[in-house]
């Protein structure tokens, strides 16, 4: 029309960000640790979205994973053990315009923080939760975590752990208002990127469990998966995580799964415990669930004068 092509808009970004603009302190995780992959992916996602660094907040609890805010040049909060999620909910409640990310681990989230986990998922505030699940307490040098496999010999269970591993997927899917549940492995960066990108773009709480390597304490668990990827089940769907051409060859097992189908999602999640088949991809997504942050943020822009006036008015009710 009028000699103007479809891409007619000459969009100009006044500020331009490179990876450097998102890089904080030098990462001090062990060489070969899967956390590096998650960090680099987060950098790339922010760069590709060209988000101003001061508009993002990374919030963590305690653990290897929770060092992440130090390595981001965004705002960040390194909280207390298990409290990453309530802190993040607090931030989102009063600063709804910020882009909130949570970096937490299998200990921080599934053990000491389990109560908060349930309520944060139920609140469905718009944030991205990265669970660095290495199935061990790494920072304190190898103690059993809730997701450690049975019979794993650790410093707390030298003869091998007694219990079956907790299944975070069935738990999360079972929580009311769960709106985005995905699982991914850290050693496939393109898939990790696409998964975190989808999680970041989703409005609501995006729960992403990242099965992650700890080459120092439990090298064997993930080595086994890396050597034999037939235990992984790639979930494919046009509404799911896009899988780049050529990546599928790394997954001998795959299936179609509609992420709006909760019943099948629960079956797939349960198979991880009962059959040892580890799903990779988007299990469930529902964009229609309301976000508590939309409600909790109401009135956050009221001026101090208005607040004082409102308080005075309320107090006047008690005038003698």
């Amino acid at each position: 029309m009028f000699g103007i092509k479809a891409d007619w808009s000459l969009d100009i970004q006044e500020r331009y960000f490179t990876i450097d603009d998102y890089e904080g302190n030098e990462a001090r995780w062990c060489d070969g640790c899967g956390d590096h992959a998650v960090l680099a992916t987060a950098h790339r996602i922010l760069r590709d979205a060209q988000l101003p660094p001061e508009k993002s907040v990374f919030i963590s609890g305690i653990g290897c994973s929770s060092r992440m805010p130090h390595y981001m040049a965004t705002y960040g909060l390194h909280g207390t053990h298990g409290r990453a999620l309530p802190l993040a909910c607090g931030v989102k409640s009063r600063r709804p315009e910020l882009d909130v990310w949570v970096a937490t681990g299998d200990g921080d989230c599934f053990s000491i923080g389990a109560g908060h986990w349930i309520h944060a998922v139920r609140y469905n505030m718009d944030m991205t939760i990265l669970i660095f699940d290495n199935q061990i307490y790494g920072l304190t040098k190898k103690q059993t975590s809730p997701t450690s496999p049975i019979d794993l010999k650790t410093n707390t269970h030298p003869e091998g752990s007694f219990l079956d591993a907790l299944n975070p997927l069935t738990v999360t899917l079972g929580i009311t208002n769960a709106s985005f549940v995905a699982q991914v492995i850290d050693w496939n960066p393109p898939l990790l990127y696409e998964t975190l990108k989808a999680a970041h773009e989703h409005k609501g709480t995006s729960f992403v469990r990242i099965i992650q390597r700890c080459p120092v304490f439990v090298d064997g668990i993930t080595k086994e998966l890396q050597n034999d990827s037939s235990k992984l089940l790639l979930l494919k769907h046009h509404d799911g995580i896009p899988v780049a051409a050529g990546l599928e060859r790394l997954f001998p097992e795959s299936r179609e799964h509609d992420p709006s189908d909760m019943t099948t999602a629960l079956d797939i999640a349960r198979d991880e415990t009962t059959k040892g088949i580890i799903p990779v991809g988007l299990l469930y997504k529902n964009e229609d669930i309301p976000c508590y942050s939309d409600l909790s943020a109401l009135g956050h822009d009221i001026t101090d004068e208005d607040k004082i006036a409102a308080t005075n008015k309320a107090l006047d009710a008690f005038a003698i």
Binding site: M1, G3, L10, T18, C33
Partner: protein, 862 residues
């Protein structure tokens, strides 16, 4: 995260829709041209644009064809003569760094560079204009800025703007330098204005004339060589070569030791028996002299105009002011052609002489009257180009006769004329543009049948250049009718907020819509339809006419989808036509033909212009035509259109229909013919069908009868105890009867042989299958599947020279020679994502290679 531009809205009205007959009455009377109701109506302000054009108010936020890059050596290198800056930039980057992730810093900021370049160009043109004005030499066109200059400046300010880390800065600078190198030193950048088409024409003629003369000079040199040879031979024959002087000359510097006179006296003084007659000798001599002495005039282009444009004269271009450019061009052409006629006749004589075909009785009179009419096509194109720039008003009025004469004469002169979209060139400045039926210069030119006609505009530079190329390629008079869209600046005060768009912060305040946009709208609204007629292509309009580029050429008006939000916030999708009435909104002079319809007024009588025009006289009587307009606040309004403007719409539509018919896009003749043929075919088909049906029914009946008797017969036989197997045998033998025929073709090979050959074939096939199956590919060079790198730092810690992170912080091998093969193998072994492939050792003198190669093997398999 992208914010889509908000949809236009309908105005919010407080009161309920009004349907008062008074309003209807006023609108109707305005439409009919009753001046008494004008004070009861609301005029439209200058920020009202046709609704479809609203998104493009501010052209600085739009990617479009301007500015253009003019390639200095376009024709020679086989490239185009010009290309939009936008596409040249993106295509260049894609050539030197293809793919999404390469040259990322540059690709992410290419829009920034483009905007910066546009601003710099605008600044350049502005300062040039001021300089020219202060020099007051009347020159109103400027030299176009050099592309590399502008790009270098933009690149520098991008670096400053981004303020990247030193490393990234260097990466960006590398790609910027590559981008600069994609332009040649002399490439210039052309912006859109009144003179764009003229400048493009000059650019093109200049390049092409150089190409043509280059060819001709080569031909001339070869003729000179051949003629000289003939004359030399003849001199030898005459014995001149054995004379004292010639001998002395041929000996050279040692001639003093030698007596040429004595030598000459003993040599035979004549050889050969046939001597060239002196007339022929003279002819050749004079031809050779002309060929040798000819110096090409340095002027390649004459530009004749009435004084409203002054070219930048230089050695090759000469401008001239004339009262009647058409007739002056014709005279000038005759003069220039006369200058060249002796050269061309000399060339032709030389050619004839070389092949000894000159016959005095035939050729002498021909060459005595050798004028431009006798020039060959090639020769005509060597005459310096002459461009006559004529105002459309002059061509349509006092200049009509000399214009017509020139078109009929066939002199290869390019006439250029800028035509206004809305005005009748035959009308005077003061009279209403719609008073008479519009005179179509293109149609008049078409009537001359043998000249090239192009109606185009610089808003579609490809169409325009194509027209220029075609017209300058053929030895015919050509007329180019060009619409520029440039309008006189309105007299709004400088301090006023910009009426078209409050966001425009251009240094040059332009209170009207961008001329490129106006010109595009002229094409879109059938005000200035594009066409080219090339008489060289054939004798019929079907061969001659090119009707490309016109939007939706088979319809009356081009229509486009349009969405808006109504009062309740719901989105409505509809289609709007872009008519001549919509175009008229862009012309300040014509705003008086519109009046706003009150926002809350509703009536069935209101009808959009395109629809209104389809009604016949009786049904349209009660209707009031309107157009959708939008003001700068993104709110939609309706404006009633005067009857005078509607009549003009009809006039435009009439010319459009004429062109459609000439172009064969929509021809009533063809439609009629198709209709007739369809009817005939239908009728024939129907009769055939009914015939076949009767045949079919009768055959069916026959078969049914047959089958019944057969079945009954067989049934009776079976029941009577006959052997059913025998019956089957019968049927198989009859079925096999066709087999011998097909086997006879392969008679030569016995069954055994054919079986053997079949197995051979099979084994061969399986072999080829095995060969084509990818044998485990092993790359000899070490490489990293970068996409799979998890940024764990293992390899980069081991050897930071060999393993390096890219922009995405994923590793690649920067220099395979920066470390040992042992390191590569070890890195591959410790790499947690197993994406390092060590390949084969590059240095064969390394220790323990056999063991290392063995260790590397599993990592080289993919």
């Amino acid at each position: 995260m992208s914010s889509s531009p908000s949809l236009p809205t309908l105005p919010k009205t407080e009161s309920a829709p009004k349907t008062e007959p008074e309003i209807l009455h006023t609108l109707h009377h305005f439409h009919l041209g009753d001046p008494s109701v004008e004070r009861d109506t609301e005029e439209i302000s200058s920020d009202h644009l046709p609704a479809l054009l609203n998104p493009f108010r501010d052209t600085s936020k739009i990617r479009y064809d301007y500015p253009l890059v003019l390639f200095a050596n376009g024709g020679e290198s086989g490239k185009h003569y010009a290309q939009p800056l936008t596409s040249h930039l993106s295509e260049s980057i894609e050539t030197f760094s293809p793919g999404k992730n390469s040259a990322r810093f540059l690709k992410d900021n290419i829009s920034w560079i483009e905007r910066e370049m546009r601003e710099l160009i605008e600044e350049h043109n502005l300062t040039q204009n001021i300089e020219k004005k202060s020099l007051s030499n009347g020159s109103n066109n400027s030299t176009e800025p050099l592309a590399t200059d502008i790009l270098k400046q933009a690149a520098a300010s991008l670096q400053q703007h981004l303020n990247l880390s030193p490393e990234n800065r260097e990466t960006l600078q590398e790609s910027l330098d590559q981008l600069v190198n994609s332009f040649s030193q002399e490439d210039r950048i052309l912006s859109y204005d009144r003179y764009t088409a003229t400048k493009l024409m000059i650019h093109l003629v200049h390049q092409r004339s150089a190409e043509r003369w280059g060819k001709f000079e080569k031909e001339r040199d070869s003729l000179i060589r051949q003629l000289t040879q003939i004359i030399e031979v003849e001199k030898h024959k005459r014995g001149d070569a054995l004379g004292t002087e010639a001998l002395e000359k041929s000996v050279g510097s040692n001639a003093s030791h030698f007596n040429p006179a004595a030598f000459s006296s003993i040599l035979p003084n004549k050889s050969g028996t046939i001597v060239i007659p002196p007339e022929r000798m003279e002819r050749m001599d004079s031809a050779l002299k002309i060929l040798n002495q000819f110096k090409r005039s340095s002027i390649q282009l004459y530009f004749i105009h009435t004084g409203d444009y002054s070219v930048d004269e230089n050695k090759t271009i000469k401008g001239e002011v004339a009262k009647d450019p058409c007739s002056r061009s014709a005279d000038l052409f005759d003069q220039e052609a006369a200058k060249l006629s002796s050269l061309f006749s000399a060339c032709r004589i030389a050619k004839l002489e070389v092949s000894n075909q000159y016959s005095a009785t035939i050729h002498d009179p021909w060459f005595n009257n050798f004028g431009w009419e006798a020039f060959s096509e090639q020769e005509l194109l060597l005459v310096p180009a002459i461009i006559a720039l004529e105002p459309a008003n002059r061509l349509a009025q006092e200049g009509l006769s000399s214009f017509s004469q020139l078109l009929g004469s066939g002199r290869p002169i390019q006439i250029m004329s800028r035509v206004k979209g809305h005005a009748n060139p035959a009308a005077t400045e003061k009279s209403s543009p719609f008073r008479d039926f519009r005179l179509e210069l293109g149609y008049i030119a078409m009537a001359h049948r043998q000249c090239y006609v192009a109606q185009s505009s610089a808003a579609r530079y490809q169409h325009l250049i194509q027209g220029f190329i075609e017209a300058t390629e053929i030895p015919r008079t050509a007329i180019h009718l060009i619409n520029t869209g440039v309008q006189e600046q309105s007299t709004i005060h400088e301090e006023d907020p910009h009426l078209i768009s409050p966001n425009i912060t251009k240094s040059k305040k332009q209170f009207l819509l961008d001329p490129w946009m106006v010109s595009s709208a002229a094409l879109e609204s059938r005000v200035h339809p594009f066409f080219r007629i090339n008489p060289e292509s054939g004798d019929t309009f079907a061969e001659r006419m090119n009707f490309s580029v016109n939007p939706q050429p088979d319809r009356d008006w081009a229509t486009h989808p349009f969405s808006y939000r109504d009062e309740s916030g719901d989105v409505t999708h509809t289609e709007l036509a872009f008519t001549f009435a919509d175009y008229a909104l862009l012309v300040p002079k014509l705003r008086s033909h519109f009046r706003l319809i009150p926002d809350n007024f509703e009536s069935d009588s209101l009808s959009p212009v395109a629809e209104y025009l389809t009604h016949n006289e009786t049904t349209r009587f009660s209707l009031i035509p309107f157009v959708w307009t939008m003001n700068r606040d993104n709110v939609m309004h309706r404006a009633v259109v005067s009857r005078e403007l509607i009549l003009a719409c009809r006039d435009r539509l009439n010319y459009w229909h004429t062109l459609q018919e000439i172009a064969g896009v929509k021809s009533p003749h063809i439609e009629q013919a198709i209709n007739d043929t369809t009817l005939t075919i239908e009728a024939r088909k129907n009769s055939e069908i009914s015939e076949l049906k009767t045949v079919h029914t009768s055959e069916l009946q026959e078969l049914q009868n047959d089958a019944t008797t057969k079945v009954m017969g067989q049934l009776a036989q079976v029941l009577m105890g006959m052997n059913p197997a025998a019956m089957q045998g019968d049927s198989t033998s009859s079925r096999n009867s066709s087999i011998p025929q097909s086997s006879s073709e392969t008679e030569s090979s016995s069954p055994a042989e054919s079986e053997e050959s079949a197995t051979e074939d099979n084994s061969e096939q399986s072999e080829t299958v095995a060969a084509s199956e990818p044998a485990a590919e092993v790359s000899e060079d070490p490489w990293i599947e970068t996409m799979l790198c998890t940024t764990c730092n293992d390899c980069t810690n081991m050897n930071p020279q060999m393993f390096v992170y890219n922009d995405d912080k994923q590793a690649y091998i920067a220099d395979p020679n920066a470390g040992t093969y042992a390191e590569l193998v070890e890195a591959a072994e410790i790499c947690p994502s197993r994406c390092i492939h060590p390949g084969l050792p590059l240095n064969s003198s390394e220790a323990d290679l056999d063991e290392l190669i063995e260790r590397a093997a599993p990592f080289n398999q993919i």
